[in-house]
């Protein structure tokens, strides 16, 4: 059974600092998704990583995928308050399209 684990689950950081969120998964997959969720809102797709070594960047966020290590990272550079949200990684279960989500990492960026 596929399990997806994120850490940390909660992250409080100062503006301007860098940090990394980790997403580990238990069975083979060559693709991974990152979503953002603001309080009371739905999930917004951030990145789709489709192969080993894939790296994608959008603004202050950069995501990477290592399929051999079954690990994805979401790196935050020079955090700003607007990045405060909960970030989820998700991995497809087999070829079904069913996504297995991590528990989410709640990021709080303090001025």
């Amino acid at each position: 059974e596929l399990k997806v684990e994120q850490n940390p689950l909660f992250l409080s950081m100062q503006e301007g600092k860098n940090y990394t969120i980790y997403c580990n998964y238990s069975t083979t997959s060559d693709r991974l998704y990152w979503y953002r969720q603001d309080p009371g809102k739905s999930l917004e797709s951030l990145f789709v990583l489709l192969s080993n070594g894939a790296v994608k960047q959008e603004g202050r966020l950069m995501a990477s995928l290592d399929t051999k290590a079954r690990l994805s990272t979401l790196h935050i550079t020079a955090a700003v308050h607007d990045l405060s949200a909960t970030y989820f990684c998700a991995v497809p279960s087999g070829n079904t399209g069913k996504l297995i989500f991590g528990q989410g990492t709640t990021l709080q960026v303090k001025p």
């Binding site: 693709r31 998704y33 739905s42 999930l43 998700a90 399209g97 069913k98 989500f101 528990q103």
Partner: protein
């Protein structure tokens, strides 16, 4: 293009009452998903439709939950009777095709509170 539409956005009911949620996916998106999201957790799939066919309902508690997507577009998810533990956010999502790598687009969700 318009996003995924869900209604109602909020619902408060007493236990043992029935409740229904409605979802209108993005036009042309043939695959539709219903997810359950408990507080502080990631979404969990309840059911997945490809057009009007339910292709994965293994996580749907069929004793009280039912879903339909009669014309392969809109979908409804029903709970009857609701229990206290059903309080959660019910998210609808869709994707264009049926391939596993298709990005899923989520609606705003229906927040259910069972008293």
């Amino acid at each position: 293009e318009a996003g995924v539409v869900q209604s109602p956005r909020y619902k408060i009911i007493e236990k043992k009452q029935p409740v229904a949620f409605w979802c209108n996916p993005i036009s042309g998106h043939n695959t539709l998903y219903w997810y359950l999201q408990n507080l502080g957790q990631g979404p969990e799939l309840l059911i997945r439709y490809e057009n009007e066919e339910a292709v994965d309902d293994s996580q749907l508690p069929k004793d009280r939950f039912s879903a339909e997507r009669l014309k392969g577009v809109d979908s409804t998810l029903k709970i009857q009777p609701a229990e206290l533990g059903d309080s959660a956010v019910y998210l609808c999502a869709c994707s264009k095709g049926t391939e596993a790598q298709e990005t899923q687009y989520f609606g705003p969700g229906t927040r259910l509170l069972v008293l």
